[in-house]
């Protein structure tokens, strides 16, 4: 039997100073599928994403390609699942764009000769060649988002996880970012409350609120359900309004 790319069973989680953030989460994801996780602020989307490559751990609750996330296989799992964080300032911490993109491959013990080649290839793929020597803090938000994506793509993960990829971007940058994501043919999990980008990027959608899954199904079906969306502080994508 072919293993699912992601399988989550009975995942519950709470931070020490918070009530339950995730309650009994169950879902699975096929290889190559794009899943959009939507929900209002505080729904638990980002916390759920942090479980996908073991930044937050619940023994056995999360399986990646049939392998439960454990201390022993964490390195292998992190190579398979790449997370692009919401705020690029959290993701980019090295003095130059080149170093930031090379950070992951170096830590995963890739061959040093290959790293340089891979970094340049990724920067080229995202149109970032001219930024390699720049300090990430001196770039615009759109550029920083692209560099954040590059830091993950260079690891060639099988599953790409994105937390609010289009938040705070101007329409032009948003369009170009969506275009880049459309051309990445990997299993994708995108958490966002930007309905437009979810509509353009995802095959399936999971709606979360207060740590629970409220709905899960085809994007076309859930994103057209105005009543459901409004009951969860969301709205129809602009493409589906009249």
């Amino acid at each position: 039997m072919k293993n699912k790319a992601v399988r989550i069973s009975d995942l519950s989680f709470s931070y020490p100073d918070h009530p339950m953030v995730l309650k009994n989460i169950n879902f699975s994801l096929e290889q190559g599928e794009s899943l959009g996780i939507i929900g209002p602020n505080g729904a638990g989307k980002s916390t759920l994403l942090l479980h996908l490559n073991g930044v937050l751990k619940q023994n056995g609750a999360v399986q990646i390609f049939g392998e439960p996330i454990q201390k022993q296989n964490i390195k292998a799992i992190r190579r398979k699942v790449g997370i692009v964080f919401q705020d690029p300032n959290d993701q980019l911490f090295m003095p130059t764009v080149f170093d930031d993109v090379a950070f992951g491959p170096l830590n995963l013990g890739m061959d040093r000769n290959q790293i340089e080649e891979k970094v340049y290839k990724t920067l080229q793929q995202l149109g970032l060649m001219e930024y390699e020597e720049k300090n990430p803090s001196h770039l615009s938000l759109g550029e920083r988002k692209k560099v954040s994506l590059a830091t993950i793509l260079v690891l060639e993960p099988q599953i790409l996880v994105l937390d609010e990829p289009t938040a705070n971007l101007d329409p032009g940058s948003k369009k170009s970012f969506i275009c880049i994501l459309q051309n990445i043919h990997k299993t994708k999990i995108i958490a966002s409350h930007d309905m437009d980008s979810i509509y353009e990027l995802c095959d399936n959608v999971m709606l979360m609120n207060k740590g629970k899954i409220k709905a899960h199904g085809k994007a076309g079906h859930i994103l057209r359900n105005q009543e459901l969306l409004e009951a969860n502080n969301l709205e129809l994508p602009s493409q589906l309004r009249n």
Binding site: G54, N89, F93, M94, L106, N107, I115
Partner: protein, 242 residues
């Protein structure tokens, strides 16, 4: 901070800028040591050190005016030293002048040395060189993060200050001004804490194992050794023979 910020401005104006940063660090550190160990009455030596620094600035095409203008940041320190020496010291006035001269001339020369290092070497080259010179990785991490996030936090503090200003309708009393400042600082600390958590999560997800690794690429060539030899010869002649 302006000194660090200016690292982006100066680096390709002279072929000497491409000297191996390790050589620059070693020679500058030696120079600082020699300055520190020079007796205060060796006026000629101080003059020659100053001459050497000016020659370096000219050779490396550093904007001397800009660097000299940054010397003003030493004024509060020197004023404080002056007050401590004259008001609280138990020395005669000629001894006090001697002490103050010693401290002032050395701090100015050392400041110029550090300025030389910063203005001729990109910060991340300095970091990489320190790493190659076997500086403990904790120090490297602290410096890297300080440099990466210092601007971010100064911008954040600036935004908070602006927001406070926009809601201040009349001049506040010193008391409440201090109180507000304390609140701003505490918020900044909290945000710093949250950000460190997020950054750590981002680092973990890219395979971080508590060691900052970088791709190093420095090569020492003839030009570096000539610079090192000439510089040390000069220091030796001034410091020992004169």
């Amino acid at each position: 901070m302006n000194l660090i910020r200016s690292e982006t401005e100066n680096h390709d104006s002279s072929c000497l800028m491409n000297l191996d940063p390790r050589i620059k660090i070693i020679t500058t550190t030696l120079f600082i040591l020699v300055i520190g160990l020079t007796p205060p009455s060796a006026y000629v030596k101080f003059f020659l050190y100053f001459g050497a620094l000016i020659s370096l600035f000219i050779l490396f095409q550093i904007h001397i005016k800009k660097l000299i203008s940054r010397l003003f940041i030493l004024i509060p320190l020197l004023t404080f030293l002056g007050i401590s020496v004259f008001v609280f010291g138990k020395n005669t006035s000629s001894e006090s002048i001697h002490i103050l001269w010693n401290l002032s001339v050395k701090s100015i020369l050392i400041f110029l040395c550090i300025g030389f290092l910063f203005l001729t070497t990109p910060f991340f080259h300095l970091i990489k060189s320190l790493e190659l010179l076997k500086t403990p990785s904790v120090v490297i991490s602290i410096l890297t993060f300080a440099h990466r996030y210092i601007f971010l936090f100064s911008d954040e503090a600036e935004r908070m200050k602006r927001s406070k200003k926009s809601r201040t309708f009349k001049k506040q009393k010193l008391n409440s001004e201090i109180k507000t400042l304390a609140h701003i600082v505490s918020h900044l600390f909290l945000r710093t804490f949250e950000r460190t958590e997020n950054i750590y999560a981002a680092m973990l997800s890219r395979g971080f194992d508590r060691k900052i690794k970088t791709l190093t690429f420095f090569k020492t060539n003839k030009k570096d050794w000539i610079f090192c030899f000439v510089f040390l010869f000069y220091l030796l002649s001034v410091g020992v023979i004169l």
